[in-house]
Amino acid sequence: MKDILKGFLELHFKKQVEVSYYYIRDLLLLSLFLDYFGLDNPLGIYALDLYPYMFEEFHLWHRSLGMERGGLDFLPCC
């Protein structure tokens, strides 16, 4: 029963959830990588230890923005 319910939910809502997920992800990455766009990052150095966690996502993200290479020296993801 649980599986059927799960299947139903996924069938009907997966797409919408995915879309809003990408929307949120983009906003979050933009906020953490403000300097990437030449804007001042108010976090200063206090985002330093967040970056490794965002490493893989950053790669997917710049690809999805249409940029082949990340272009950040400190995050050699490509």
Partner: protein
């Protein structure tokens, strides 16, 4: 002093039970902020454990006490400690701490992050956030913290940075939380939220300390320009407890707290000559 644990090590929260007052002295350059902070800290140390912190990049405590102080907390006499914070060293320390842990986890990017930390050391926001971060940690261990601030402009920036970064983390936290909700639906896990939450809590602590325990003295002399800066400080920090204070008072009509003129009030003995009684009454 023992190395304090920082971010990423799961510090649950900061106890600030011990802290009674966080006292700032601000105002135009040369009005006597450092001398007043020193004299006040000296008197407060008779009551309880006191730390005198200089956050002015051009430190002058060493000259006032006639002994080398520097970036490590140093004991001057019973219950009286002093430190001259160097933002650059703080940034360096923080980066080392983070990178040390990260290097083991992800060796492939640690050299890149090292490069990054070399550059970020000179970012103005980094310097302010580093100082604020250290202040919160120091609040843990003393009953009185007396802060000798940089001149007006920089001091205002310090307070504004605290507010801005806190607001920014609030926003990031909301985003990360929403993201986690969505990830959970898709059966994935997210570590980011815990990390952001930790920082947010630390900044909240800082904001509440500043709101509840901070007393700011806007120092001026009997001179027009320094009086003007005193007014600016008072206006811009009107959400905090700010008292205008007249130093080197010679007899001008003045209702607020004042400290009289004293010649060469330097060294542990010399500082006792300064009558800071009216300051202590307000703490």
């Amino acid at each position: 002093m023992a190395q304090k644990s920082g971010y990423g090590e799961g510090r649950a929260g900061f106890s600030t039970v011990l802290l009674r007052r966080l006292v700032f002295f601000g105002g135009k350059g040369g009005v006597g902020k450092s001398t007043l902070s020193s004299a006040t800290a000296l008197r407060l140390s008779e009551k309880d454990r006191t730390l005198l912190v200089s956050v002015d990049p051009a430190h002058s405590l060493t000259g006032i006490f006639g002994m080398e102080i520097g970036p490590q907390v140093k004991i001057l006499k019973e219950n009286l400690y002093a430190v001259e914070l160097s933002a650059e060293i703080l940034v360096e320390e923080y980066a080392q701490r983070v990178l040390g842990a990260m290097g083991e986890l992800l060796p492939s990017i640690s050299s890149g992050l090292k490069e990054y930390s070399r550059h970020i050391k000179h970012s103005p926001t980094a310097l302010e956030t580093a100082v604020l971060d250290k202040l919160v940690e120091l609040c843990d261990e003393y009953a009185f913290l007396v802060v000798d601030s940089a001149p007006t402009g920089q001091m205002l920036r310090l307070f504004e940075t605290a507010h801005m970064v806190s607001g920014w983390f609030e926003f990031l936290f909301r985003l990360a939380k929403e993201r986690q909700r969505l990830e959970r639906f898709m059966g994935r896990e997210d570590k980011l939220l815990t990390l952001i939450e930790e920082r947010r809590r630390k900044l909240k602590t800082l904001e509440s300390i500043l709101r509840e325990k901070a007393v700011i003295f806007a120092v001026a002399n009997e001179e027009r320009l320094s009086m003007q800066e005193m007014e600016t400080l008072r206006e811009r920090l009107k959400n905090f407890r700010v008292y205008p204070l007249l130093n080197r008072w010679l007899g001008m009509e003045w209702k607020g707290p004042r400290v009289g003129w004293v010649e060469e009030p330097y060294g542990l003995e010399g500082l006792k000559k300064l009558d800071v009684g009216e300051i202590l009454e307000l703490l």
